[in-house]
């Protein structure tokens, strides 16, 4: 009889999360792009997506570094990450980033926050190394040249 009374019980365990999907982590990445790799702390959405896409893999980062040397972007297309858009919304709600006519700009608060985060040299070390190496060399014009081809095709 005891056998019948036995029950199977399932315990629902939480799943791990990719760190860059933590809201603040993604926001910090975006702030870094605006702070370190964008003129005037401003960038269009496709350009933000390009950097976000590049930061996911080493070979993509190398392509952007090559683009810096050649002054021409040799990337046919890149992924658009919904997490970036969501993170942008949150960042705007928190006044870390503000929307301007066709692009997004880092606010003073955002700049302060990311500077404080960078006081620890280990923090976001990979992202910072890459973005500093690229610098502000990937211009809006280079990005929109590529984006133009999508419309024509």
């Amino acid at each position: 009889m005891t056998e019948l009374r036995r029950k199977l019980r399932f315990v629902r365990r939480a799943t791990p999360v990719i760190p860059e999907h933590r809201p603040l982590y993604k926001i910090a990445q975006l702030l870094l792009i605006l702070e370190l790799a964008s003129r005037g702390g401003k960038s269009s959405l496709p350009r933000l997506q390009l950097f976000n896409w590049a930061m996911k893999k080493n070979e993509r980062q190398e392509r952007l570094l090559r683009a810096k040397a050649e002054q021409r972007l040799n990337v046919a297309a890149w992924g658009f990450d919904p997490a970036v858009v969501l993170a942008l919304r949150f960042a705007i709600g928190q006044s870390l980033i503000q929307p301007i006519s066709t692009s997004y700009q880092i606010t003073d608060l955002g700049s302060e926050f990311i500077k404080a985060a960078c006081k620890d040299p280990d923090n976001l070390a990979g992202e910072r190394g890459f973005l500093k190496a690229v610098g502000k060399s990937i211009t809006e014009a280079m990005v929109s040249d590529i984006a133009q081809t999508w419309v024509d095709a």
Binding site: R12, T15, P19, R22, A87, G93, A117, D120, N123
Partner: protein
């Protein structure tokens, strides 16, 4: 120990300067205004005894510039050309010596302390026949010419050996003992025995108190420590010998059975087998060697009859050899494949590990961001939407994932355990690879031998030689292999004997450890601690401690510090961890007085036979605007404590009435000076 007199001697361009004071046998009060040189006097005293580490430094750097650089006299700035400190000390047997230590000197280093027999300062004996000793050099506490070693002998102490935090042993250095009898002003009043210099001694304060109270723990401690170290050594030796044997056996394709990887008291060398697998069979080393010898003899016979042998026989030999070669090739193929697979999985694991490590670093970054966000009042740090203030998921794509997600802490813990798992896997795979490599290389060697053999057989067959090259070659191989096997056989009994010895050593180590007393303190020790507790409570009461109910204060049996309901009594901590254990600042200082005094009272109690030095040097005990009546109680206790010489430096709030109240009807020797401590020395 009694400090009889102290002298500072400065040679300047303006002549001889300094100070010279004699101390009373009981209480001496050094009275001086703030910054009048009380601490100069106090630190010079410690310096002259080689105890300046209590002030937090080494050599003359702990002394103010006034005694080593320049000082001002009559408005004139006088440079110090040379300076030295002299101190006269008497031990328990009434023997008097004088120490002289340079502060600033062209030739003599501050490490040098010269010892003169007799009282040079009070008896005005000549400075002759010095015995040179050194402080702070390696061995200053151990070697004969070390000053601390000398002082230890002179004071009749036998300092015990105590465990260090690195697992070794060290002497309970004399400086640690002095920390319990000399309290300097800056850090000294921050804790019970606060200024013990760092020597890596584990629980140094507890050890010092145990020594002063004459507790019997040191022998047991030292034994326990030795047994622990011995057990570690047994383990290391075992692993070393076993590894040696296994390596030698594996190189010849043999496996060692019956040897536990870690020391085991049940180890029996009769159960050890060294064997190799041939197909499904196991062959012992000795049997295998006999087989080889047998083969060798058969080859001899065949060589003798070789020229008579028919071509048929040679062809049959060739067939057998080819068959064996095919089989070996197959084995070789198998083991190299396995090796390749293992290497591939090692690479994979290493990549996974690298990924996990990177993920971990990013998670830690995310956590730091979250903390930073919380400090900057960013709502997302509390998982709330900044616009609508609703709770949001911890993941940006939370809507797309069904089910709960880990929070950051859980995720970091999860990744850490992943990392640990991968690290273990990698170790295991590396082990397997090592084993496979040795097996593969052994098969490879046999394969090469067999190929040689086969080639010689073919040569024999086609050339029709009188002497078979194949037989000779094979015989040479057998000879070499037998030699290697014999070296393993020679190694085996020595290693097994060593392992048996280690197993026996482990048995006696474990039984000795079991025989150690379970309780740290013996009954006699507990009694001494009870006396200490009683004295401490009585002192606290008479010094006017009122932050807690005194009868509820106990001396903790683990740390030997005062506790209230198992919480150490301390000064009010800013974080306010527990109100019960907090005392106001001046009340905490009262506890320190009580503690230091109780150490002497207990040590000199009948039947305790403690090791207290019999002196107490207190620099500015009236901390935190201590009430004058409490200071009075302290001085009264010090003056009436038998066998205790105490030297108290104090400013008495620079107030005549406080001084009079604190010292009223107390008998003491007074040291005070006008204006400047450093003045011309009169001969």
């Amino acid at each position: 120990m009694k400090i009889r007199a102290l002298k500072l001697h400065i040679v300047s361009t303006g002549g001889d300067f300094g100070f010279s004071f004699a101390f009373g046998k009981q209480l001496t009060v050094i009275r001086g205004k703030n910054s009048a040189g009380k601490s100069t006097l106090f630190n010079t005293l410690l310096y002259a005894m080689g105890m300046e580490e209590l002030v937090g430094g080494r050599d003359q750097t702990v002394l103010p510039y006034g005694v080593r650089d320049y000082f001002v006299w009559n408005g004139e700035r006088l440079p110090v050309l040379a300076s030295e400190a002299l101190i006269e000390i008497e031990n328990g047997e009434g023997k008097v010596v004088t120490f002289r230590r340079p502060i600033k000197h062209e030739q003599r280093q501050s490490k040098l302390i010269e010892i003169f027999d007799g009282g040079v300062l009070t008896g005005s004996l000549p400075l002759s026949a010095p015995k040179p000793t050194y402080v702070h050099d390696a061995g200053a506490a151990q070697r004969n010419e070390g000053f601390h070693r000398y002082l230890e002998d002179f004071l009749g102490l036998a300092l015990p050996t105590v465990p260090t935090s690195s697992g070794g042993e060290a002497k309970l250095y004399l400086q640690t003992i002095f920390a319990a009898v000399a309290v300097e002003q800056k850090r000294g009043w921050t804790d019970y025995i606060a200024t013990i210099p760092f020597y890596g001694i584990r629980e140094a304060r507890t050890k010092v108190v145990e020594f002063l109270l004459g507790l019997s723990v040191f022998e047991a401690d030292s034994l326990r420590n030795r047994l622990n170290a011995e057990s570690v050594k047994i383990h290391e030796d075992w692993v070393k010998h076993v590894g040696e044997l296994i390596r030698a056996a594996n190189a010849e394709g043999f496996l060692v059975q019956g040897v536990p990887p870690r020391p085991d008291v049940l180890f029996d060398e009769k159960l050890v087998r060294v064997a190799r697998r041939e197909g499904s069979q196991e062959i012992l080393l000795a049997d295998y060697r006999t087989q080889l010898r047998q083969e060798y003899r058969e080859l001899d016979l065949r060589a003798a009859s070789y020229h008579e042998a028919s071509g048929e026989k040679a062809v049959a030999d060739l067939d057998t050899a080819s068959e064996e070669l095919r089989e070996l090739s197959f084995h070789h193929e198998q083991s190299t494949t396995a090796l390749a697979l293992q290497r591939a999985s090692l690479k994979e694991y290493e990549e996974l590990l690298a990924e996990t490590k990177e993920d971990l670093a990013r998670n830690v970054a995310a956590q730091k961001l979250k903390q930073l966000g919380a400090e900057n009042a960013i709502e997302l740090s509390a998982d709330r939407c900044p616009t609508c203030h609703q709770n949001i998921s911890e993941s940006l794509l939370g809507e797309a994932i069904s089910g709960p997600v880990m929070n950051l802490d859980e995720n970091i813990a999860y990744l850490k355990s992943q990392r640990q798992m991968f690290e273990r896997q990698i170790l295991g795979v590396k082990d397997t690879i090592n084993r496979l490599e040795s097996v593969t290389s052994e098969i490879g060697r046999r394969l090469a031998e067999k190929r040689d053999h086969l080639a010689s057989l073919r040569g024999d067959l086609s050339s029709g030689a009188v002497q078979s090259r194949a037989i000779v070659r094979r015989q040479v191989q057998i000879e070499a292999e037998v030699e290697r096997l014999e070296s393993i056989e020679r190694l085996l009994p020595t290693v097994l004997a060593q392992l048996s010895d280690l197993a026996r050593a482990l048995v006696s180590n474990q039984s000795a450890r079991r025989a150690l007393p379970k309780d740290r303190y013996s009954d006699a020790d507990n009694q001494k601690i009870s006396i200490f507790q009683r004295n401490f409570r009585a002192n606290a009461g008479s010094f006017g401690y009122e932050s807690a109910d005194i009868p509820e204060i106990e001396i903790n049996r683990d740390t030997l510090t005062p506790v209230l309901e198992q919480l150490e009594l301390r000064e009010i901590s800013k974080k306010g961890a527990d109100i019960k254990a907090d005392s106001s600042a001046s009340d905490f200082v009262r506890l320190i007085w009580s503690y230091l005094l109780a150490l002497h009272q207990t040590s000199s109690s009948p039947g305790v036979d403690g090791n207290h030095l019999g002196v107490l040097l207190l620099d500015e005990p009236g901390q935190h605007s201590m009430r004058a009546e409490s200071q009075h109680a302290l001085l009264q206790h010090l003056a009436s404590e038998r066998g205790l010489q105490s030297i108290v430096a104090a400013s008495f709030d620079e107030n005549e009435s406080v001084f009079r109240e604190a010292t009223g009807d107390v008998s003491y020797t007074l040291i005070e000076w006008e204006d400047k401590l450093i003045r011309p020395l009169t001969a």
